[in-house]
Amino acid sequence: MAPASPVYMDNNATTRVDPAVLEEMLPYFSDLYGNPSSMHTFGGQVGRTISQARERVAEAFNCHPDEVMFNACGTEGDNTAIRSALASQPDKRHIITTRVEHPAVLNVAKHLERRGYDATYLGVDAEGRLDLDELRESIRPDTALISVMYANNETGVIFPIQEIAEIAKERGVLVHTDAVQVLGKVPFDLKTLPVDFLAVSGHKVHAPKGVGALFVRKGVQFRPFMLGGHQERGRRAGTENTTGIIGLGKACEIAMKNIAHENSAVKALRDKLEKALLAAIPDTRINGTVDARLPNTTSLAFQYVEGESILLMLDAFGVCASSGSACTSGSLEPSHVLRAMGVPFTYAHGSIRFSLSRFNTEADVDLVVKELPPIITRLREISPFKHAEGEAPACTC
């Protein structure tokens, strides 16, 4: 029987809005609806609240408020950073990224290739880790930007952004990081982390959807992606998503207060879930290294079963998770991240990501630990592969 409210373990996809965030936003939907650009008191007070939100985000980043630019989402931040880096260095035609980026970066890189730019896609090893020597060797005189995600959204593997940024700086290359998954989970300090651009998204950190922020380091040349009015100091035109920005500011404040909790209590729940499932379900493995991983994320691969089937059966018990399998994504191939890691097909198709938040409880974990093992057993009974001796039949494709 499914619980009254879902057991939500898909927080890397999106998070619930924190009640305190919602409370802070509400007046700006109703009474305080002024345009922050208006030259009257009514709009001015909204403008001041946006400034306060900017300060809160800057505090979370440990940067100057002027270095924070509000936008719509992580995708916009990634697109803006990459396009700005190229537009400001027209003689440079090469970018470096990785094979495991979010589509917000990967698809921009592929698009740029069609426009005549060169892109290098760094590979990862079986545990999802980058080879920094490969990065060093990939840098060319015409490299305009290195764009590497801070942590992978599917496996939770954290990349060594500090070292990557230092390598980039040594070679005079701009560096961008998609930090959408790390805000509130991994502490970072932009005073010491020498990236030029860093993108975050509100809805991954208990703020609403439709708001994000891009850090642009002072002194880095910037070319706007959106042209129009003077909002965001002329760097991102368009009337501000006031309520979203206020929500993001509050969410950042709460996230920073909770970062220790995320790394202790949430991590403990994740570890309990992972350990119990690994113990209860044979032929199961963790995708990605366990050494440097987001505290809330586990990507588990169950051999010989398919991810969508697992998710739908879990859904019947009110459990929301995510899959790296092909069938859930609308694509026909398993996740590009798992393929890049060389995860065998026998496991890749049966990969499930559980991503927790501070709103998860022991009871949530207990429910998954109770319901998932019989689901896997049931699906393996249906599967032809568990019946084969030894390894599954080789691919005939």
Binding site: L312, C327, L332, P393
Partner: protein, 279 residues
């Protein structure tokens, strides 16, 4: 999340006829774990060629499991020949429909049935269906594609992918699929619709692509009606053409230019192409 019918959900949660038949008369296996779905079908056939039992093992998504369950329910009690009349459309209809992107699951059911019957009749089991492989990612042959087009009246490359998975991987076979589609429809090659339109074409790229679409698709089509078209010039996004033959005196020539020529060039080259007639 996919929108599944209640019947798909029911057959997924409570699949009928799961398992294997130890003394099966025949077994049909299709798919592979690399491809993301696979089906092993066991049939028990009596002396009157009647299927008295059918069981399956499936690796795959809800649609694959439900399609397998439906197939076994549909063929039990039928003679082998009657069972062979069950098409993938019948399987999908039995389930109240499948998302179009999941139609290949119903095709897999049909193929497993055919493989089992081949096995029953002592015909050689081959690793692939008959024909030449066109999609290397999913091991789909040209014969499978032709058949899917014919039996399901497919009209686009995207539909071929939905029904066979061909073209759903690296995409290198999309041109071949377009050729097979055109051949099946008795047409000259229809250019693959571009899922991602090339942005910011150079003048030379634009000129080449416009010329290709006109030569390979638009001109042959107009010739079928006794007309023709000739490319005069490409000036930025302006495409200058002259109509020939029956088209030059046709009262509907402007409609032809806008509704056919310009529309097709916008679909295949760039969305803001403007076609103008030069007299």
């Amino acid at each position: 999340m996919w929108e599944y019918t209640d019947k798909v959900r029911e057959h997924f949660i409570n699949p009928r006829n799961v398992g294997e038949i130890k003394d099966a008369s025949c077994v049909g296996e299709v798919g592979s774990i690399a491809c993301g779905d696979a089906l092993k079908l066991f049939l028990k056939v009596d002396e009157n060629d009647r299927i008295v039992d059918a069981k399956f093992q499936t690796f795959g998504c809800a649609s694959a499991i439900a399609s397998s369950s439906a197939l076994t329910e549909m063929i039990k009690g039928k003679t082998v020949d009657e069972a062979l009349d069950v098409s993938n459309k019948d399987i999908a209809e039995f389930l109240g429909g499948l998302p179009k992107e999941k139609m290949h699951c119903s095709v897999m059911g049909r193929e497993a049935l055919e493989a089992a019957v081949k096995n029953l009749r002592g015909e050689e089991a081959v690793p692939h269906a008959e024909g030449e492989i066109v999609c290397e990612c999913f091991g789909v042959t040209d014969e499978q594609v032709r058949r899917a087009i014919k039996e399901n009246n497919l009209n686009t490359v995207e539909e071929i992918t939905d029904f066979t998975k061909a073209g759903g991987g690296c995409g290198k076979c999309l041109d071949k699929l377009a050729d097979l589609l055109a051949e099946a429809k008795g047409q000259k090659k229809v250019l693959t619709p571009l899922t991602v339109k090339p942005a910011g074409l150079t003048n030379l790229q634009r000129m080449k692509l416009v010329n290709k679409v006109i030569e390979e698709e638009i001109s042959p089509s107009l010739q079928q009606d006794g007309g023709n078209i000739e490319l005069v010039d490409v000036d930025g996004k302006r495409v200058l053409v002259q109509l020939r033959g029956a088209c030059s005196s046709c009262k509907s020539s402007q409609l032809t230019l806008k509704q056919f020529v310009e529309k097709r060039l916008r679909e295949t080259v760039e969305p803001d192409i403007v076609v103008e007639e030069v007299r």
